[in-house]
Structure formats: C-alpha cells, structure tokens
Symmetry: C2
Subunit: 177 residues, 2 copies
C-alpha cells in the first residue's frame, strides 16, 4: 500500500541521491532585491547541492531575517561569499576555472537544455528582478542561457527560474558518462 | 556583440517556443495555504503553458489580492476551476482521461525524470505546505513522483517544486518522437 515516508524512512530515501561531493556549480546573485527570493534560492541551492552562492551588490545577506524566513536554515549550511562588485566576483570565478553562464534572454542566448557537459564547472549568474543582469556583466559571459517559455508570460520569478535552471543543469551532470 | 532583447525582438524570440496547443498537463492544488505560492504557481504554469489549474479546499482563489501580486496577470489568462473536495476533482480528471501523479515522497515514489510519455495527459497534484497531500488522495494516485534532492534539506518550497517538476515533465513531452 502507498504511504508517505516519515522519520528514518524518509531520511534513507531522500539521502540515497547524495553525490560524493557538491555539484560543480555556483550561483551568482547580481543585485537581487528581494530577501525572500534570496532565502528561497538558498533553500533550493542546498536541495540541489551546488557548491556555493555568491551574493553581490545590494543582494540581502544570509543573516537578514527575511532571508532566514524562506531559507529555512539552509543559509547556515551552504557556503557563501559576498562581493560588493559583481564584476570582481566574476573575474575571481574565471581565475578559479568556472565558465560564466548568465541567465538572460539575449540575441545569443541558448536554451539551457542545450548546454554540454564541457560547460562545467559553471557559475550561473542571476540578475535583479526588474533590470536583469548588468550589461558590463553580460559582456563577461561565456554564454547566455534562456529557459524556453511557452505561454503568455515572458518571465518566471527569479527564485523559480533558479530552481528550474539548476535542476535542468543537474540532469546534464547526472546523465553524463 | 551580446545584448539583452527588448520590445519586439524579445517578443519574437520568446514566442518561437509556443506550441500549437497547451501541454496536456493540469496542476491540482490540494489545500495550498499561501496565496503567494498560488500566485507564483499561476505565473509558472502560464510560462509552462499547461492546460489548467484546479484549486481545491482552502487554496486561495485567483482574485485574492495576494495571489494577484505574485501571479502578475496570469491568473486572468490561465484556465482554472475550483473544487471544494480534492477527491471529486481527482475523480473528474480520471473520467476525462488524466493520469494522476502526486508529488510526494512515498514508499513507491519514482524520480520524476523516469516518467514515460505514456503517462500523459497528466494531473500533477501538489499538497499543503506543511501536511502534504491528503492520504485519501494518495490512494487515488496512479503514481507518486519525487524530485531527487541531493543536499541537507529534504524539501523545496512548493512553488519552486512545481516549477522544477513541470519543466522536467515538459522535457519528456518535447523529446518524444
């Protein structure tokens, strides 16, 4: 008979997916405005077991009470860094060997599903809820990525977009070799 | 040179993905508590171009101001219905030929990526933020589905989970035949 799992049974089933190390992806939050979105991104990022979140500019920090509210403790588990200038964060990531993928619809953006395994380790850059990623950051991108959307609305909420993007990217990593 | 798309250019690129009809999926919201989550689910559901949202029980309705706030107009575009009793909604959907997939970790739940094309048209059932999907609904499920999670947090926010699930399911539909 079908039944929900609780306690130890839930723990065993949930943990069976755990890889030996965090996925080779970091999220770069370029001047995200909403603390609730930041908290939600932390929660999703920990579920997705990515390596790190890099908060830039005006992005609310993990100890902000509104971040705490939607992060549900993940803000104290997932590694994070802060850079006042997003450009400096991007340049550091390049030195560390990350490729820079900006989530933004541009004249060159590729469907995120088309990314190849060679594009990792990947830094996924998410922009401000209203203005998107800054132009000077866009110029540093190795590629821009879009989530194909099908209906009468041209954008997802940034925290939802992050979830969709990161789980589609994980499929690339899991299905490789 | 890389540049963001605006106005007509954005419209053309974004609309190129539009299929000839809505995807054969409906979302069933079984007593979702948060109006913000409901609005966010509307926004994502319209971006994903699913057929309908079915609101059940205490789930806030589309004209609720808090739903409006996060739905950003999609609550006036996407078809929806309301059922006081989730069970009645499920039984109607079965008569209409939908298979019932409940998003819940159970002793029988399958990774959502493993679903086959034969499982559509699909009704994806999402449960209350705290208590999940009711047991009596679980018993009506053709299958239960889980989003594999990898880190130190055992659950996604329901609106994020909906986004991840629905876009992984769309990959099944797009990659078929």
């Amino acid at each position: 008979m079908i039944k929900k799992l609780e306690g130890e049974d839930l723990l065993i089933k949930w943990r069976k997916y755990r890889p030996s190390s965090r996925f080779p992806m970091v999220a770069v939050l370029d001047n995200i405005r909403s603390a609730y979105n930041v908290g939600s991104i932390f929660r999703t990022a920990e579920c997705a077991y990515i390596s790190k979140i890099i908060l830039c500019g005006i992005t609310p920090l993990p100890h902000n009470p509104k971040v705490e509210k939607t992060a549900l403790g993940t803000n104290r588990v997932l590694p994070w860094e802060y850079f006042e200038d997003t450009l400096l964060a991007i340049k550091n990531l390049k030195k560390e060997g990350y490729q820079i993928g900006v989530l933004e619809i541009t004249n060159q953006s590729l469907p995120i599903q088309s990314l190849s395994y060679n594009s990792f380790p990947l830094a996924l850059v998410l922009g401000n809820e209203v203005t998107g990623v800054e132009e000077r950051i866009l110029r540093e991108a190795d590629f821009t990525l879009e989530i194909p959307l099908y209906g009468e609305k041209e954008s997802l909420n940034v925290a939802v977009a992050f979830g969709v993007a990161i789980f589609l990217l994980i499929e690339k990593l899991r299905n490789h070799g």
